[in-house]
Symmetry: C2
Subunit: 446 residues, 2 copies
């Protein structure tokens, strides 16, 4: 966290969003300069990282110039954004990485895009994704730290682009672990807000109960900057680490952990303990052990409705796993689906009630470990799906490297509606947990 | 229900969807004839009823001719549909009755439109709606039975168009009472399916927990025809009315009932009792009395996120009630919002558990009474909002007239996921409840 950009020496593409915002505001940096730096980085790296599905350099430079002529009123004025290509933008196509929607332009911004664009953001382009952010065709994107490895998914391109210093901010979505897992694999920060606090309108729907919009940045300040425009980061009063009560939750699926995940979690806990935080193991009671199955039952039930339009209209172009969902190939029953709802309802209330004098925040894995090798997989959502179904806010923070020297993250979790406080806690804890920021920059930029 | 269309004598615009489907299938009727009949009815009545926001006669006739050349494979082949203008279609604009989106074309069908179009439906046009299906500018549509009265809302144009024999089928949406209430006011049938069983993708979102797609027809068979293509009417085995256990639920908001609502409910109950059904008063226990407030808290909380894009980008063109929602003018707190979730979670499980040997179906008002006078109001959703939040299926059925000779409906309610069985029950009960079908036709058509 000692990295301090100098206007004269550093490449603007390496600036975090909050650093760039400060320079843009004081006119030490123009939007055009920032966008050109991002475009140069993309030009150099795209043949390997392949994060983008749509990007028009001339168009975005023209928009940057237009923004440079306006007074910087919005909090995101001039900041370039990547948008996962299951999210509509008025200017770029929304392909959903499906041959059914190849190059289809929608002409209206999704709600989340509208909010950031209306706050001054510059939409740089659309990022690659797993087909429909669900299943089927994978993104072509690779992990910036090793192109033989996945950047995770389904928010593959957004994770890789922010991780690779191609764009400071990007939207992802999460139904299982599609937002927080790529944060882990690409050494970046991610915020998955409380369900219901950010509109999902204009975003491909695969599960009404689970789908959640999130955003990536390269610091907690970046996440807060965005949270402010969504009105969920109103009060991020500084938090004292000493005495902060942190529940270390290895989660009911700890059997799936890998060495990189163990190291990330244990090193974060050890550093926080050394800084004066009170770390206690949090073992969630019995009903939580059934949350993973509840998540699967809800995704199966709601997914059958979600892919019916493509099944009816474009069966031949729909990937087999999505046909299977419409056909309910897992034999999921309405009773299992309703039991999933009931269990989630109960666990949400029980989980939220844990917070108070005995618990400030939960620390838990973001992924089993490092990004797996190969682009046939995007890794395993097993450490994310329960938190998605619990609907509370999650913040992903980088926490060192795994055995293959790839980044691994950890997740902070709060009760529903506590986004402001969770971001404030993350701001206090991130400098302690994430001591690899300069290492990431020098490796990718050096 | 004794009205039986004859190909030679009746105007095709008066055919119900299921009647027309049978004639289309056997080529006794062409799609072009049916569409031309609808267009003629619209031309005659639109100056008064004003149900449509977008409708291109030449375009739909061309599409009808194209459908007439195809083998009728889909269950909805050749059936004209109205689409509430908060739902995207690839061919017509989606204005949401907002000056912000005037004439904006989206270029992609909403999920529900894709499913019916892929099943052979012909999208006739877009119907008028309350701004964003929420609040603000009202539809211009009038009640087909008396243009001085509202057709209800927010699905104003869809309800009026189906009621006025301008189109046999239409989509509506419900967040409070926007689908079932217009069914009541326009003398038509409506199905609001179990939450989660029909995708809302491509539909204006105002509340993630409440928004529900529904459809209108002029018989239960019409609702079943559509339910089949959405795969929620798989088994509609005939139901025996004698011995059927019906819970007569005056609901916790009975204080708001009007004479027309009392007559509709009591006459339905009396007829069903005379037909051998077992009617028992169902008084819902204490927690249900708080559902109306829970609905308001959830709508306030989730609505703040939903209208933020327009608030940021087009404040001057956004109606004051929607600005108020972003600004949380009611002072709704996150705690109230979460308490609303918890109460709804509890009541859903408790309500579903009522069904079994002691209860087959619930009978309850669809609206306080007849459509109120004036277009400054769309009536009161008070008898609908609890059922929306309970997420179970509702079927609206006409049940006679009120003191001003306007139609009034009643609602059948089942537990979540029971759409097939509820439709089967509705099919058995509707001929007993609704004895005014010929009266409606002769009044509007005569």
């Amino acid at each position: 966290m000692n990295y301090s950009p100098s206007r004269m020496s550093a490449d603007p593409a390496t600036f975090s969003a909050s650093q760039a915002a400060a320079l843009l505001k004081t006119k030490q940096l123009s939007c055009e300069e920032l966008v050109r730096a991002c475009l140069a980085r993309i030009a150099a790296r795209d043949p390997v990282v392949k994060a983008w599905l749509s990007l028009d350099p001339d168009y975005v430079i023209a928009r940057a110039r237009a923004l440079d002529k306006l007074p910087p009123t919005g909090a995101l004025h001039g900041l370039p954004w990547g948008v996962k290509d299951v999210i509509d933008t008025f200017d770029y196509p929304t392909t959903q990485n499906s041959p059914i929607y190849d190059q289809l332009k929608i002409g209206r911004d999704a709600a989340c895009v509208g909010v950031v664009r209306g706050s001054g953001a510059l939409i740089l382009g659309k990022t690659d994704t797993v087909e429909f952010a669900s299943s089927g065709r994978k993104a072509l994107s690779t992990n910036p730290y090793n192109p033989a490895h996945t950047p995770g998914g389904s928010s593959s391109g957004s994770g890789a682009a922010v991780g690779d210093y191609q764009v400071p901010l990007a939207f992802g979505t999460q139904t299982g672990g599609s937002h927080i897992r790529p944060a882990s694999f690409n050494g970046i920060y991610g915020h998955k807000p409380t369900w219901g606090r950010v509109s999902r309108e204009g975003v491909r729907m695969s599960s009404m109960t689970l789908d959640t919009i999130g955003w990536y940045g390269r610091s907690v300040d970046d996440l807060i900057l965005v949270g402010i425009v969504f009105r969920i980061a109103e009060d991020t009063t500084p938090i004292t680490v000493r005495g902060l009560r942190i529940g270390l939750c290895r989660s009911p699926v700890w059997h799936a952990i890998e060495p990189g995940g163990v190291a990330a979690l244990d090193s974060a806990a050890a550093k926080l303990s050394a800084a004066g935080a009170i770390i206690e193991e949090l073992v969630l009671p019995e009903p939580f052990t059934r949350m993973h199955a509840a998540h699967a039952a809800i995704m199966a039930g709601e997914g059958a409705a979600s892919f019916l339009p493509e099944y009816v209209n474009a069966y031949e172009k729909l990937a087999q796993p999505l046909r299977d969902r419409v056909e309910n190939s897992t034999g999921s029953t309405p009773e299992q689906w309703l039991q999933g709802y009931a269990l989630a309802d109960r666990c949400r209330v029980e989980f939220d009630a844990l917070f108070g004098p005995a618990l400030d925040v939960v620390l838990t894995p973001s992924s089993p470990g490092e990004a797996p090798e190969g682009l046939h997989t995007t890794g395993n959502a097993i450490f994310n799906s329960m938190w998605t179904l619990l609907h509370g806010p999650n913040v992903g923070i980088p926490s060192g490297r795994g055995p293959k020297n790839l980044p691994v993250g950890v997740t902070l979790v709060g009760p529903r509606m506590s986004d402001s406080r969770l971001l404030a806690i993350a701001k206090a804890l991130a400098p302690i947990i994430d001591t690899d920021e300069a290492g990431r920059l020098s490796q990718l930029w050096g």
